[in-house]
Subunit: 201 residues, 2 copies
DNA sequence: AAAGTTATTGACCGCCCGGTCCACCATTCT
DNA sequence: AGAATGGTGGACCGGGCGGTCAATAACTTT
């Protein structure tokens, strides 16, 4: 009934996301987005609305993807749950220390847009964080079931603590903290987890 | 030999800091700074240079103040060192959860300016974080000396881990995480610290 | 083929951006 | 008193900002 779109929406959104990711929200201009996507201004506005809506759109999918990719990384049998979790967090430490310096869009977006009453951003971020915490809880419960974590421990409390470490890694990595330090933090946090009595050395 | 300044430099810098703190770097305009300080543009540029230099200036003192205020909060005899540290971090948790939402300028500035190769910002941030870590290490060493922390523990490793939690609190608080959760993370982290054998229950 | 509908492009809008510049002023030195 | 010095305020600059819009193109329906 009408002219079809000539661009791949997913591809455009990826380009937009990368722009916001690299430069931040305020520092990204609509011209930057035009250049990055190859679309004219009218197309961008027509398809996605204004800058803020566009940001929310990519922020949304970024959050969902983050939680989902974590879920995939952690899923598996009870037996290796604790080790998978530890391995995952070590990977985060290494990635955060990388020279990319772009860090995590979730952290960046929240830091930049939280203050000005933009609850539409913080709400999504909070939901993502809670989703991540739930993944941690799940892994720890698996580990507990398998006997790697003390029977009396509370997976949810431990998960919350690990979530704080997790977000801290990101923050410190962006400041340029070296990989060894970040990985050390993960190791130390895991050494503090209550080990099952049967496995205590 | 010439006309003296009519403004209080410290006061002006405080106003500038608050502007950057509330709105972020990119979103703060020079007009905002003129309004906040009451100074004309010429005075601002004459006294402090351009926007970036001005930001570095206030960022510098903010970092120094942060480390120093932490030092003051933690200083004291060996006896209460661990408890002071715990109390301090609980205070951070409560403050991060506050409805102010402005969070920590150190975190915000780093998140916003780290990516674009602005090592002048990240260098200062990293130095501040290392200063904080040193304070933690110091308190933990005191606690160890007093027997609150296991003799075999390594204060520096534990301090690094607590630093990650510390920065995580800030990040999660900005997203709107509730106070009870944040305080819980601190409690859990402290429960994981290796307790002196003499004091183990 | 004509009508209807939507995508696309880029010119255009008013405004505000960071930064410069200069006329003016308050002070100190001679 | 007058020159010299440096602080002050604001007009001014070119350009980039977010956002709008009308002309045109590409498709479907009748």
């Amino acid at each position: 009934m009408a002219r079809p779109r000539t661009f791949d929406e997913a591809q455009v959104l990826r380009a937009v996301r990368d722009q916001f990711w690299n430069k931040g929200y305020a520092a990204t201009s609509m011209d930057d987005l035009m250049r990055a996507t190859g679309l004219g201004k009218g197309s961008l506005y027509g398809a996605f609305g204004d800058k803020h809506q566009l940001f929310l759109r990519i922020f949304d999918t970024y959050c969902a993807n983050s939680v989902e990719s974590m879920r995939q990384a952690l899923e598996g049998p009870d037996a290796g749950a604790l080790e998978r979790l530890r391995h995952y967090m070590l990977g985060v430490a290494t990635a955060s220390a990388g020279p990319s310096r772009r860090g995590c869009l979730l952290a960046r977006g929240t830091a930049e847009l939280a203050s000005e009453g933009a609850t539409d951003v913080t709400d999504r971020a909070l939901q993502a964080f809670q989703g991540m915490e739930a993944q941690f809880t799940n892994s720890l419960a698996q580990a507990q079931r398998h006997g790697d974590v003390a029977a009396g421990a509370e997976p949810r409390k431990l998960a919350a603590m690990l979530l704080a470490v997790f977000r801290g890694l990101e923050a410190l990595g962006k400041a340029g903290m070296d990989e060894a330090s970040l990985r050390g933090m993960v190791e130390t946090a895991f050494e503090g987890l209550p080990v099952s009595a049967r496995r205590r050395r």
